[in-house]
């Protein structure tokens, strides 16, 4: 089943043409990795999917993005962002307790029942493999957690609102290898329930977790294919060059 259907997406920030005629489809329950050098439009692409780009000054877009056949501009923006969760590059806990961080989203969507809140918080933390580490200190400030724990907290916070898609924006860029491995494990498990779009600077990471991989360059989608094929037999020379450069 097609989750995201993106057709001829153009994005401008003022005079800057950030994305050029990008078309792709994202299947349900797959991980699509997006790779490319910096300023290639990867993050812009991601932030356009949940309409976070709307916040940027002088944003303009053309083309259509459909989430399960519905144009994202026609969906209530709160609901859209509830359906499409996002994990940012750096761990960004809100200045609240661990519990309140995870509960924040559902509270904003109107959940008041204390029992239900507790249940969701516990479930989400377990899904993000953080529950055992924090279950005795839920009232503490989220800033007291380590970087890796904070990032998994952010994943739990995203899961709590029961999204359908999760966007990861270079989620391991600030983490050490062990924390990175934990986050990657979490992502692979999450695939069973969610659709994942992963933007990463780390080509090896794309190779490890992505079902399919997309290569962006200068705002264009150069190639999108099975991850194995991208890494062994890319069709485009530029993809090949980028991957080799990265490996070499």
């Amino acid at each position: 089943m097609v989750k995201f259907d993106i057709r001829d997406l153009d994005v401008w920030f003022g005079p800057v043409h950030a994305l050029k005629k990008v078309s792709m489809a994202v299947e349900a329950n797959e991980i699509v990795s997006v790779i490319g050098p910096s300023n290639s439009g990867k993050t812009t692409f991601l932030r356009t999917l949940n309409r976070l780009s709307d916040l940027t000054l002088n944003f303009k877009m053309a083309g259509t993005i459909r989430l399960e056949q519905e144009n994202i501009n026609d969906i209530d923006i709160g609901l859209l962002r509830k359906k499409i969760g996002m994990v940012f590059a750096l761990p960004l806990p809100l200045p609240l307790s661990i519990f309140d961080n995870v509960a924040y989203g559902i509270r904003m969507h109107g959940m008041k029942n204390k029992k239900a809140l507790e249940k969701t918080v516990e479930g989400s933390l377990q899904e993000a493999y953080l529950w055992d580490e924090v279950k005795d200190r839920l009232g503490e400030s989220a800033f007291k957690l380590s970087g890796g724990q904070q990032q998994r907290l952010c994943i739990a916070r995203t899961l709590a609102v029961e999204p359908e898609v999760i966007l990861f924006d270079e989620p391991c860029s600030g983490l050490d290898p062990i924390s990175t491995a934990k986050v990657e494990d979490a992502m692979v498990k999450l695939k069973e329930k969610y659709t994942i779009v992963l933007v990463t600077n780390n080509v090896k990471q794309a190779a490890r977790v992505g079902d399919r991989t997309a290569f962006f360059l200068n705002g264009e989608l150069i190639e999108l294919d099975e991850t194995d094929r991208i890494f062994t037999a890319p069709k485009d020379k530029r993809t090949d060059g980028y991957i080799r450069g990265k490996f070499g």
């Binding site: 962002r81 960004l92 200045p95 924040y104």
Partner: protein
């Protein structure tokens, strides 16, 4: 050839001198007022009404009047100022209207205090027929301190990291929810600082209350917001220029109480700002 290091020494000497010329008199002013005013301060001075044509007794009604005025001003100015700050920090775009608003704030801050007095007289006392009353005085002071509250609150709101807003929005919270639950709580210390600075400013001003509320001599407490009231700064003005033969002790004592009231508020604001900086979590 001139020796550049000698020139530098001379220049630095004059810069230091300039600094001392500001700081030393400030210290002296405070020391003189404290030294000469302290003997006048006792419980009776603080709690009694003025007696014998303000040549004896205390300053209680003036203290109470000032508290009423300042409270009224803040009740009026804080909500408007805070919402205006939210508008500027969260909603305004980089356009002509925003430029106009900022210019208006700068101008409002620059209007001479006595002109606020005239305005309060024309609008509240005469046009709205509130008369010379606590209501008129509070509203006038409230408009006067609006720029202080807007500017400091806006700084406080803008110092909350932008990423917090993005996180909240990305979870599907609405803009107002984001402001209400994430931005505001983290800006409270800064907003508090601004509010207290505004209070201090309102407590010390005389010109705006001259024709809108201040009573020359009213040896009782005001009964309602439509009453006139005495106020500390005006009282100090009156006993130092309008009433002959007032014991110097009483003048200094009144000046000391007013000075301490204002400095205390500034001190509290500074302490809050300092503590907040230390415990900042991001």
């Amino acid at each position: 050839m001139r020796n550049p290091y000698r020139t530098q020494r001379i220049a630095f000497f004059f810069l230091l001198l300039a600094t001392l010329l500001i700081v030393v008199p400030v210290g002296l002013i405070v020391v003189i007022i404290v030294q000469k005013g302290l003997p006048a301060i006792n419980w009776q001075f603080l709690s009694d009404i003025p007696r014998h044509g303000m040549r004896a007794g205390g300053i209680f009604p003036a203290i109470v009047g000032t508290i009423y005025l300042v409270t009224g001003a803040i009740i009026f100015a804080l909500p408007i100022g805070l919402l205006a700050a939210i508008y500027l920090s969260e909603y305004s775009k980089d356009n002509f209207l925003t430029r106009l608003i900022k210019l208006a704030i700068v101008n409002l801050a620059g209007v001479p205090s006595v002109v606020f007095g005239l305005f309060g007289l024309a609008l509240f006392v005469v046009f709205f027929k509130f008369g010379a009353s606590i209501l008129s005085g509070s509203l006038t002071l409230g408009i006067m301190i609006l720029p202080v509250i807007i500017t400091t609150s806006r700084e406080a709101l803008e110092s909350v990291p932008y990423s917090f807003r993005e996180v909240s929005l990305s979870l599907g919270a609405s803009k107002w929810q984001t402001i209400r639950h994430i931005v505001l709580p983290n800006a409270i210390p800064g907003i508090l600082t601004g509010t207290i600075l505004g209070l201090g400013r309102a407590a010390g001003e005389t010109a705006p209350i001259l024709f809108t509320v201040a009573a020359f001599y009213l040896p009782r407490l005001p009964a309602s917001v439509f009453d006139q009231a005495m106020a500390l700064p005006y009282h100090l003005y009156v006993i130092s220029t309008q009433v002959p033969n007032v014991d110097e002790k009483i003048r200094y004592g009144t000046a000391l109480v007013l000075l301490m009231l204002v400095l205390m508020m500034n001190l509290i604001a500074i302490v809050i700002r300092y503590k907040f900086r230390k415990m900042k979590k991001w």
